[in-house]
């Protein structure tokens, strides 16, 4: 009887060419969603009554924020699988996701700050959501720095996995603690003005940009995981026999 | 009895050795030799279960050591390049707490008696950081005197010892083997142990 799931692609040797074949498709999806989303967001969507044209930042801001949170969970998942089942590929996936996730966390902070200046008159407030995004960024950096500081890749994988898992327990705790901290204190500080009921075009545009970022993250992860595979498995036969290595 | 089959060791991108096979029986010891960097220390750390095994199997009385856990750890006494001493504690305190951590209660008098046997009478109360290189090694070796483990794994135990201490260690090893123990020892010098010829195991670069 054939096994229900084929584990073949769990080995770098087989995943490498598969990833290579998948990349163009996801690139295409990225471009399609991106172009469509930008078209709607920048060119078609009408202005927002309260915030003027400044609100258009929402299209990238929200997508980047979502991706940064989503990618952390995915990263922790792969790291945990790598730790639990000792599968090299899962750990490589985790390392491959981290930089992209950190980049989206940074973009969320950056776009948020650029939004805050015209809307609130300040680049930054210590609002709950902003603060927990900042901490998420630090968690990404910690993960990357820890893996970079350990030379033995297998050790780096395992140590990173423990950190990511501890982080994943902590992210909700941090999130709620910050929420609570802030609601108790709200006082004089500015509160986040939620955009009123969004027009359908806006919502669609936002979703499309989010999809674009998602597909983009997949592309980056696949590209990076391929590079990591080459680096780590440089002495194996399958790498030596690749046609890009030995033409 | 310790059996090693088809063992391989990879460090970084270098394969140190592969297909290593040997066994130690009770009352026997192995003198592990090989040039600098050939992988002796790496092998020993695999044998005691500190380093993961790349390929191959290490068995203790037929069972893979991975699945033995505490039972195997009770059977092994390892001494590495490092002395595992706390520099600010005295020799006596080091001995007592070292034993306690391994679950063996050792009183002050008992510790002093052991220290006298390694030639440190009169220095029981000196913090270890004041001791000379050789004296530190002697304190570390005192671990062999309270250990009840049948298998001793000693990485260059003779380093820094003077001739008297070398003779003492050889005699201690001889006694351990006579009682049914086994040992695996690295040393770049010749080692003679009364009444026992070593099984020579020479690692060579693969």
């Amino acid at each position: 009887m054939r096994p229900l799931i084929t584990w073949k692609y769990a080995s770098p040797q087989h995943f490498y060419p598969l990833a290579g074949k998948l990349i163009p498709w996801f690139v295409a999806l990225t471009l399609i969603f991106g172009a469509w989303g930008l078209w709607l967001g920048l060119l078609v969507a009408p202005t927002d009554a309260q915030q003027g044209e400044g609100y258009r930042i929402i299209f990238v801001h929200v997508a980047a924020s979502w991706m940064s949170m989503f990618l952390y969970v995915v990263m922790a998942f792969w790291a945990g699988v790598g730790l639990g089942f000792n599968t090299r590929l899962s750990s490589m996936m985790a390392s491959a996701i981290a930089p992209t996730g950190a980049m989206f966390a940074f973009l969320s902070l950056w776009t948020g700050a650029l939004w805050g200046k015209p809307m609130w008159g300040t680049w930054w407030v210590w609002d709950a959501r902003l603060t927990s995004e900042l901490i998420l960024f630090f968690l990404y950096l910690g993960f990357i720095a820890l893996q970079a500081a350990i030379d033995d890749p297998r050790r780096a994988d395992k140590a990173g996995a423990i950190l990511a898992l501890v982080g994943v327990i902590n992210v909700p705790i941090i999130y709620f603690s910050v929420m609570w901290w802030n609601t108790l204190h709200q006082g004089a500080s500015v509160s986040l003005t939620k955009a009123p009921s969004m027009a359908r075009t806006m919502l669609l545009g936002m979703l499309l940009v989010a999809l674009c970022f998602w597909m983009y993250s997949i592309v980056m992860t696949l590209l990076r995981v391929r590079a990591i595979m080459l680096e780590r498995e440089r002495h194996t036969e399958w790498v030596a026999n690749l046609k890009e290595v030995r033409p | 009895m310790l059996t090693v089959s088809d063992l391989a060791c990879v460090r970084g991108d270098r394969r140190l050795f592969a297909g290593l096979e040997f066994a130690i029986e009770a009352r026997n010891w192995i003198h592990l030799t090989g040039e600098n960097g050939v992988g002796k220390t790496s092998l020993m750390r695999m044998l005691v279960g500190l380093a993961p095994v790349e390929a191959g199997e290490i068995r203790w009385h037929g069972t893979p050591i991975r699945s033995l856990g505490d039972d195997y750890r009770r059977a092994v006494c390892y001494l590495g390049h490092h002395n595992a001493l706390k520099e600010e504690l005295t020799a006596r305190e080091n001995l007592c707490v070292g034993a306690a951590v391994s679950g063996i209660a050792l009183g002050d008098d008992a510790a002093d008696a052991l220290l006298a046997r390694v030639g440190l009478a009169g220095r029981e109360q000196l913090p270890v950081r004041f001791l000379s290189q050789g004296q530190k090694r002697r304190v570390a070796l005192a671990r062999l005197l309270w250990s009840e483990a049948p298998l001793w794994v000693l990485d260059e135990p003779f380093v820094a010892l003077d001739t008297a201490a070398v003779a003492w260690l050889a005699a201690t090893l001889a006694a351990h083997l006579a009682e049914g123990g086994m040992a695996i020892v690295t040393s770049h010098q010749e080692v003679t142990i009364a009444g026992n010829t070593a099984q020579q195991l020479r690692l060579v670069r693969s």
Binding site: G142, A145, L165, I174 | A84, A105
Partner: protein
């Protein structure tokens, strides 16, 4: 020897080493005191302002003092080979690790709890608030030691680990900081600290279960 006596042996050993390095116990405390005292120097002497920032400053200082002392939690044992011997001891490593964390708290957490009221007085906190401060630290400092141990173990043997450990642990300390300082602030503003304190207690219970386990995992990796 029973498991518990092995635990005690580790605690005893670590306390002995800490006491022998004479200044060790005192310096973690002094660090706390000095950091807290630096603020009035950096910020200026307005009492109203100082009273407002007191819970935050005291808690951040406690957090930094704990974090600073994390380096010596495992690093020395790693360098001199003791950690290897602990991993090879025929008792669960988690137990030994628990002992080390407990000793660490006794040396670097407990003193902070005891000195905190004195510092609180400098910031003109009321006696009820001082009580809440001590209670929050009593629940919070073990939590800091437990979480910190994970970070210390992860950075073990990693070059430049001394500063890396702060990068790893400080974000994880955030909930402890928020609930700890929050409890004192809530009390001052008359809202009652019970909610914050019970959350802190809940976190502590969680950490007591999971942290030694994660730490043990990290240590085993470091020893490979």
């Amino acid at each position: 020897m029973s498991a518990f006596s092995v635990f005690l042996a580790v605690v005893r050993r670590d306390l002995l080493v800490a006491l022998r390095r004479k200044s060790e116990v005192l310096t973690s405390l002094f660090f706390f005191v000095i950091v807290v005292s630096l603020f009035p120097l950096g910020i200026g002497p307005e009492m109203d302002l100082l009273r407002k920032i007191a819970p935050g400053v005291l808690w951040v200082a406690a957090l930094l003092a704990t974090m600073l002392s994390l380096n010596r939690l495992f690093a020395n044992d790693h360098a001199d080979g003791s950690l290897e011997q602990m991993a090879l001891a025929p008792v669960p490593l988690g137990l030994l690790v628990g002992g080390k964390i407990f000793a660490h708290w006794l040396v670097s957490g407990l003193p902070l709890v005891l000195i905190a009221p004195v510092l609180g007085i400098q910031f003109d906190l009321g006696s009820r608030a001082l009580g809440v401060l001590m209670l929050s630290l009593l629940l919070g400092t073990p939590l800091l030691s437990l979480i910190g141990a994970i970070g210390a173990a992860l950075t073990l043997g990693v070059r430049g680990g001394g500063v890396l450990v702060s990068l790893l642990t400080l974000p994880l300390y955030v909930p402890a900081l928020i609930f700890g300082a929050g409890a004192v602030e809530a009390d001052i503003s008359g809202m009652g600290a019970a909610g914050h304190l019970s959350l802190l207690g809940g976190l502590l219970a969680l950490a007591v279960f999971f942290a030694p386990w994660a730490t043990t995992g990290a240590l085993k990796i470091a020893l490979e």
